[in-house]
């Protein structure tokens, strides 16, 4: 999201802002807010409608959904194929960040590499931005577990030879394949709604901490992308239209300029791609390219990639005051658990700038802006 505020305007209030975010957006492995508990029928609506459900409930603006991948809703979701256990896990977790690498981060635009593209995305130097990184929480995890079990048997039944059991799969046109896609799409819609709810609470946090009205705090959605998904997309390759199921696992869609699914406002520059780095250094805003469309089915990288395992990171963090270290670097961090901060410390990640240099060098994305963190909440 982008704001109308500059870094200097919020600098004295960063701690208040982070505190508000931390109070308003639940973090960690547990439950969401007690004022958002869903019954089965409501959760079914979430799984069917995605982000639009939250907007309909007053959490967000109608124009938000036009800036979400697939408009915040995958068609063909089948809540009836989501298990009771997954429902159970999802009921109390809508509007929660989770743990691990998930975060919400206040940033500022530190560098602009492409003035015209930045202007199209509404970004300017020193502007305050906010990024939310979260997914489908326990519900999605359960959907994956449930269907892995089915797929191991299905692969054998359909005589699919696999070099590794973990690649278990089923034909797209088989009942098992269709069922997984239906349930996975429902989980994806939960993730869209989850981020939409947190978007709303982030806006409220800005208003509360900075004593601003909604239009002044004005957090506008720049874009929302998926990182872990398989979905049908149609490509025009060498004059042929092909409908493909693109698996992107830790990868981001990066559609080129002119693509009909790219919001009209960005049609000339391409679909925005958000690449989080680590909480000490920087993140990037990129746009998709024609070359990505032709070569990688409109896909690019998704982040920094770990350098240290979680265990190694915790070992290296022992005895250190990470929150103080980060604050000296100009980043206020609040987290549910210090173990997560240790696992997620900047040195645990590779330098994301090396990653985006490769995708730009290869021509599958273009760099637009670099964002630096000011305040972070984590699980």
């Amino acid at each position: 999201m982008r704001s109308g505020l500059s870094r200097a305007e919020i600098q004295p209030r960063v701690r208040d802002l982070v505190t508000r975010l931390y109070q308003n957006i639940p973090t960690g492995i547990g439950k969401g807010r007690t004022d958002l508990r869903l019954n089965r029928q409501e959760l079914t609506q979430v799984l069917t409608q995605g982000a639009a459900w939250a907007v309909e409930k007053g959490m967000g603006y109608e124009e938000d959904v036009g800036f979400l991948e697939e408009n915040g809703c995958i068609e063909g979701a089948r809540p009836d194929l989501v298990s009771d256990r997954a429902y159970q896990r999802g009921r109390n977790q809508l509007g929660s960040l989770g743990s691990g690498n998930h975060f919400a981060e206040i940033q500022y635009v530190a560098e602009i590499y492409d003035e015209a593209a930045a202007a199209a995305l509404g970004l300017f130097q020193d502007q305050v931005t906010l990024t939310i990184h979260s997914g489908s929480r326990g519900l999605g995890h359960q959907v994956c577990s449930d269907h892995l079990r089915v797929m191991v048997e299905a692969a054998a039944r359909y005589g699919i030879e696999l070099p590794d059991r973990q690649l278990c799969c089923a034909p797209l046109q088989s009942p098992e394949g269709r069922d997984y896609l239906g349930a996975m799409s429902a989980a994806a819609n939960f993730a869209f709604a989850n981020r939409q709810v947190m978007t709303h609470w982030a806006r409220e946090s800005f208003m509360q901490a900075l004593s601003l009205g909604p239009s002044q705090a004005g957090l506008t959605v720049v874009y929302d992308v998926c990182h872990n998904i398989a979905k049908f997309e149609t490509f025009e390759i060498e004059g042929r239209r092909r409908r493909l199921c693109v698996h992107r696992k830790g990868a981001t869609r990066a559609y080129p300029p002119g693509h009909p699914q790219t919001p009209e406002a960005y049609r000339e520059v391409g679909q925005p791609v958000l690449i989080p780095g680590d909480m000490g250094r920087y993140s990037y805003v990129l746009v998709g390219t024609e070359r990505a469309y032709r070569e990688t089915f409109g896909s690019t990288c998704h982040g920094a990639g770990r350098r240290l395992s979680r265990r190694q990171a915790k070992k290296q963090a022992r005895g250190r005051k990470l929150l103080d270290e980060l604050e000296r670097e100009g980043v206020v961090v609040m987290a549910a658990g210090m173990a997560t901060v240790a696992e997620e410390m900047p040195e645990a990640y590779k330098d994301v700038s090396a990653v985006v240099d490769v995708v730009e060098g290869a021509g599958i994305s273009r760099q637009v802006a670099q964002l630096k963190p000011i305040g972070v909440i984590k699980g």
Binding site: C144, I160, L172, N228, I364
Partner: protein, 94 residues
Amino acid sequence: MHIEQIDEFRWRIPKRGKMRVEGLVFASAEMMGEMRQDPCLQQVVNVAHLPGIVGTSMAMPDIHWGYGFPIGGVAAMDGKNGVVSPGGVGYDIN
């Protein structure tokens, strides 16, 4: 593993055995040096075996080991004859 450099940021893993398509890895020479020690490149090869895979089995420069498919992997499957795999999405759906 046999890997050929295509250009500054592209590496090809040629087809062998029952691979249906080639592997294509986006990385700098330095990153490739590190990746060679990592089982994630074997995962790129494994994904290339899946029925209906189109184009190449791809890896982005932030690739690392994941359940079945590498994290940082992209694979497009033919809509009619291809397969879908939960490992190609992972646990953290969306």
